[in-house]
Symmetry: C2
DNA sequence: CAAATAGTGTCTCTAAGACAATATCAC
DNA sequence: GTGATATTGTCTTAGAGACACTATTTG
């Protein structure tokens, strides 16, 4: 039997196949206007969630995502989802992991690949995109609780979601979590969100992903606040500037009319 | 329509679905006996490949792997593959990435998730496992060529495979490669192997995966050689020992009859 | 000037890399 | 003693963190 004959006789539908989705955790930093224009805005790491319009988990909040098409890669599918939801093409997607536990979706055998992406500040208001689904930004917090568990809090003006998780394992840069209380989130998305956040924090600590939260030109203080907001760790300006120095290049320009000393605008090197 | 009614009416086969495999790069360090028992053995980072018994890519070398079953996770599937191939249960699997480019498999829409695993030294001779397929260990080299491309060399007594690759992107700890010359390897496995190797080197540099190459008790020199063999970077013994000190704990015992000063045996802390 | 943020200089301590020296076994 | 590997000490340099200080704008 030749390879050609084999391939012609091959019936792919004879085998068990899962449905496969690419889901996407879209992060951004939202700025909340301060009392006075002279003050720095308050910032919050935020995540885009969609309210499910149909069964299962109807009306529950979930990560955006969709079934992969035969003509695209998983990453392209995730990229397409981000564009549909926000209208923005992210500079890069980060693979977080696969979610394949039997029974995770009541519709049947559905496996999801999770990616994380980051949207620059300036585009954050573009909520909903051209997707009909209801989409909203939630502020994200993820803290250690009194016992050894962790609490994931997703919050906006209308809604407060609070999920409880436990660390199963943390190896090779991937943190595996078990859901103790899904807090109303659909499927196993509580764990997916928290794991994406862990991965994001990791990469923000070593300056790999902080630039994506900002427009092309930014001040060093803005960049520092981004890192602090994502990692939840504050650093001294002098030390931050020293470490970032080799990764940025000053444009000649500065901020204007900010009510205090203007800041030099930088670009990523 | 209730959720229950929806789920009963839901026909998963109405949607396009890919076949999904979990593939696995099984690494180990093989020791080649030296001339004299007093000398250190030569070591080579090695990878287990199987020769494909059927179409497509009949008789070509490929990574072990198999189709995922509805009752298991992707990781469990990969773990099962390792056990079938080597008889060893690896301590942990590292997710390398997904391979979903349309056309990557002539049989049709087949997506693969790649994991890497490490088998301790002592079990390396167990080749073939209970799987009927022909399996063999290959020494692995991956070096930068004269132009900006990279060469992946897989070698054993009978066979020499040489593939050529180019770096597309290297972000978030994942290196994406494009195959310039597959060197006779099946499918896109040349890129999969090289990407797994990049991930492995990354994790060996920060001591996260070097212990898995050795039995429970080991000498510090063995541990150092493992790191050097994987990363292809040699370090001074004094410095290695300082950095590893907090991660290991000495058992009281030492090596015996080695023809020179005996070494303290350590365990991972 | 006050308020606010931008930006610099420098001290200390730790960790990394290089190098030198000593220790202990088999033969 | 010789040959081999094991193990320790320490010098230098680079980087992280802490802190104090200066600079520049608006009102």
């Amino acid at each position: 039997m030749t390879e050609q004959e084999y391939l012609q006789a091959y019936d792919i539908t004879a085998y068990d196949r899962p449905s496969l989705t690419a889901d996407i955790a879209i992060f951004a930093i939202r700025r909340f206007e301060p009392d006075s224009y002279r003050h720095e805005p308050r910032r919050a790491l935020s995540l885009l969630l969609v309210r499910r319009g149909g069964h299962p988990y109807k009306d529950h909040w979930a990560l955006p995502g969709g079934f992969v098409k035969p003509t695209e890669t998983l990453e392209a599918c995730a990229m397409r989802e981000v564009e549909e939801e926000t209208g923005v093409t992210p500079s890069a997607l980060m693979l977080v992991g696969d979610y394949s536990r039997p029974g995770r979706d009541p519709r049947g055998w559905i496996i999801s690949q999770l990616f994380a992406s980051v949207i620059p500040d300036e585009n954050v208001p573009a909520v909903g995109g051209d997707d009909a689904a209801e989409a909203e930004w939630f502020s994200v917090r993820f803290d250690k609780a009194a016992d050894e568990s962790f609490v994931l809090r997703l919050e906006n003006e209308q809604t407060l979601i609070s999920a409880k998780l436990r660390v199963l394992q943390s190896r090779f840069g991937r943190t595996s979590l078990e859901i103790l209380d899904c807090g109303g989130l659909a499927f196993d998305h509580a764990a997916m969100i928290a794991e994406a956040l862990c991965a994001l924090r990791e990469k923000a600590r070593d300056f790999e992903i902080i630039f994506d939260f900002l427009p092309k030109r930014f001040t060093l203080t803005e960049l520092q606040r981004v890192q602090e907001t994502v990692t939840d760790i504050s650093v001294l300006p002098a030390n931050f500037r020293r470490k970032i120095a080799d990764l940025v290049v000053p444009t000649g320009e500065t901020t204007e009319g900010v009510g205090h000393r203007p800041a030099t605008l930088y670009e990523r090197k």
